[in-house]
Symmetry: C2
Subunit: 231 residues, 2 copies
DNA sequence: AATATAAGGTGTATTTTTTACACTAAGTAG
DNA sequence: CTACTTAGTGTAAAAAATACACCTTATATT
């Protein structure tokens, strides 16, 4: 009986849908490709997995190489494996998403030469993307829209201290609908995962709002409840 | 600038966690391997993706080859890519799950020679599995346990006509807790996706229960509501 | 025919959660 | 001190979730 693993030319890649929230807009990170195929096109940050590297490790590395950031909450959400998705051969890509806290306008500088630049693009105004990256983005966006309805992951996108109005706007942008202010606040505060701070917003030309912090401890507990179904 | 896709010896595979519900037990389909590595071990049904075959197609094909069944609701749920998960080389596996309707005890006959046999195993009594298949099973099981709390996918596992008690037992098995009969019925009937039939159970030595059918039309509508978040 | 057995089938009161809805308070800018 | 802009708050109604126990019906047994 044959025991040798059959092989064919194939390779894995990682593509990342990296969300950020800035100036009231939901954005994703795109790179401008510097290599064929799709040279000069915009694309999701992604790269090939190395031979001795796990998928999770590759995702972390690639995110790091493109943003300089580490320890980001990142999750694999789908693997795209259509035969002809890459014009040069068989490339199966594992898609991850991440939600980044943008601490002010940070310069993005690719450390690999295969990208000319990396920029934040508002998701409502995306250019045409290389490969099947539009499809990957759509699925990633669907994923977070879905997830946010049962897990308050939105915090990942906000600065450490935020106002309830900022939080609500973020929900509204992700869900693409407007929410009732009083009900939203009631619900969020009821989760018990927000810590009210003794601080207020600064630099606004109107009444400053209270700042809140996200309580990781209590969030972890709530997260556990994902599997409930009543008695 | 280099434009040739780097390659290394690598290959993709599919592994399937195929759930069935039989004799009041939740089971998965396992095969007995006939080839190295892990010859004679039990493993999830899985196989290598072919060169000109998409992942979804490969999953369908493999499920068909191992069960003779087609048109099964199947979903990709995770991709496992640890470097050393396969002793003979780099194999990234894309895991799918399926929920099968077992119409009576059906014979399972592998049509490939790499499996000696295929059998249904109760999930509470699984043998040691080849590769990282235990991990894959766990994650697949978690997936359906999670999903069943917000989508009534349990129907996939039941015969076309079923009683409410059978449905409840299935929920109890998947969620691993007992549910209140009256509340369960109220909830299920309230979904509005069950059609009450004019038929009753047969062959039982006690009062026969009414049979129900699952209404696919209405289910599709309910499924759409997945993304709601109130006003 | 009577009885035992085993599951089928049903209702109500309570609590919790969700929804709808509008005005006053506080700070800033001129 | 006035105008402007956002912050911040409560209540009533409806809907959903929960806790809980008994009678009914078909079959099998004597």
């Amino acid at each position: 009986m044959e025991t040798i693993l059959p092989k064919f030319d194939s390779v894995f890649s990682i593509d990342c849908v990296i969300f950020g929230f800035d100036e009231g807009e939901l954005k994703i990170l795109l790179i401008e490709r510097n290599v064929e195929p799709f040279k000069d096109w915009w694309a999701l940050p992604g790269y090939l997995v190395e031979e001795n590297e796990s998928l999770d490790h590759a995702a972390e590395r690639i995110l790091y190489e493109l943003t300089g950031l580490r320890d980001i909450f990142m999750d694999q959400f789908y693997t795209f494996g259509d035969v002809d998705r890459h014009p040069q051969g068989r490339v199966v890509t594992v898609a991850y998403y991440a939600m980044l806290r943008l601490n002010g306008p940070k310069e993005l500088k690719p450390v690999t030469s295969y990208a000319k630049s990396a920029v934040w693009y508002p998701i409502n105004d995306l250019p045409k993307l290389a490969f099947d990256h539009s499809k990957i983005f759509e699925r990633g966006f669907l994923k977070i829209r879905n997830k946010i309805t049962y897990q308050p992951i939105a915090f990942e996108l906000l600065p450490e201290k935020f106002t309830l109005t900022q939080l609500q706007h973020l929900y509204e942008v992700i869900l693409n609908k407007s929410l009732d202010k009083r009900n939203f606040r009631k619900k969020m505060l009821n989760y018990g995962i927000l810590k009210e701070l003794d601080e207020k917003q600064k630099g606004v030309s109107y009444r400053a709002a209270k700042l809140y912090k996200f309580d990781k401890r209590k969030y972890a507990k709530l997260f556990q409840k994902e599997l409930t179904f009543g008695k």
